[in-house]
């Protein structure tokens, strides 16, 4: 599975566009991290707990998108975008979407032609 946020993939040709695939997850922060974050607000600095929480959440959203793409028979997702929305106080939705595609290796002849142009 190839995931990129560009419209093309180097070395590969998009044979077929399948359509939009998406993945989302909604996460709430928990109390222990909140207390640690409250302390960090006094001294300043990175909130590692929240960074980990969001990294994990984004990874899960991407995995869900990949699962959907695989179900549709795709072997790549192009033009991936991320968005975040605040649902309620203390919870966030992480949303990722892209276009599922079927890609194949570029033929040597086609590649040469591209290179010349």
């Amino acid at each position: 599975m190839i995931i990129v946020n560009t419209e093309s993939i180097p070395g590969l040709r998009i044979r077929q566009m399948i359509g939009l695939v998406q993945g989302n997850t909604i996460r709430a922060k928990h109390l222990g991290r909140d207390i640690a974050a409250g302390l960090k607000n006094i001294v300043g600095g990175e909130l590692k707990g929240y960074t980990e929480l969001l990294t994990e959440a984004r990874r899960q959203a991407v995995e869900r998108m990949i699962a959907q793409a695989q179900q549709l028979g795709a072997n790549g997702v192009v033009n991936v975008r991320f968005s975040t929305s605040a649902i309620t106080q203390g919870a966030a939705e992480l949303y990722v979407y892209g276009t599922a595609v079927i890609v194949e290796p570029e033929q040597a002849g086609v590649q040469e032609a591209n290179h010349v142009s």
Binding site: V4, N5, T6, G11, N41, I42, G45, T88, G90, Q111
Partner: protein, 164 residues
């Protein structure tokens, strides 16, 4: 009567002394953490100076076809210290530039971009294109009880340059 008056004065003293203590603590730790972070950022940027990052949708300098491009990400959640929140609160009465928050945003952006580049480097790439930076306002994270936190998320497509 006397005891309650003393009790009141003690509470008054605490009312003033706790914020004062927090401001002094923040003055020391906030400056230390920020300076250390800026030094750390400069050092890591130096190490990654051969990496080319751009926000165009094509692949600058050409991409090697045999190494597949891949999505890379970097993110950071960062908080200001109590002193800066306090100073910014004062400044907000008069309006104008909030310098103390500018450094916060700068640190967050540079850190997120660096993490994205380090992600790309660790997977064996030497360039990132179509970089997008997004600012996420996580529910309830900013604006409540004077706590200021920002999340910056950077992502892009990593690839191998032809000229490297």
């Amino acid at each position: 009567m006397l005891a309650s008056a003393q009790g009141n004065s003690l509470i008054n003293l605490l009312d003033f002394s706790i914020p004062a203590f927090l401001i002094i603590l923040a003055f020391i730790t906030g400056r230390y953490i920020e300076r250390r972070h800026f030094r750390n950022l400069a050092q890591r940027e130096q190490q990654l100076s051969d990496m080319i990052i751009s926000d165009v949708k094509t692949f600058p300098n050409g991409a090697q076809p045999h190494k597949k491009a891949e999505l890379v990400m970097g993110q950071v959640v960062i908080a200001t210290d109590y002193l800066k929140t306090f100073l910014a609160g004062l400044k907000k009465i008069f309006g104008g530039e909030l310098k103390s928050y500018e450094t916060l945003m700068e640190r967050a952006r540079r850190e997120a971009l660096l993490r994205m580049q380090e992600d790309a480097r660790s997977r064996g790439y030497n360039a990132v294109c179509n970089v997008r930076l997004s600012f996420a306002d996580i529910g309830g994270m900013s604006g409540t009880k004077g706590s200021v936190m920002v999340e910056i998320f950077a992502f892009g497509t990593a690839y191998c340059r032809l000229d490297a």
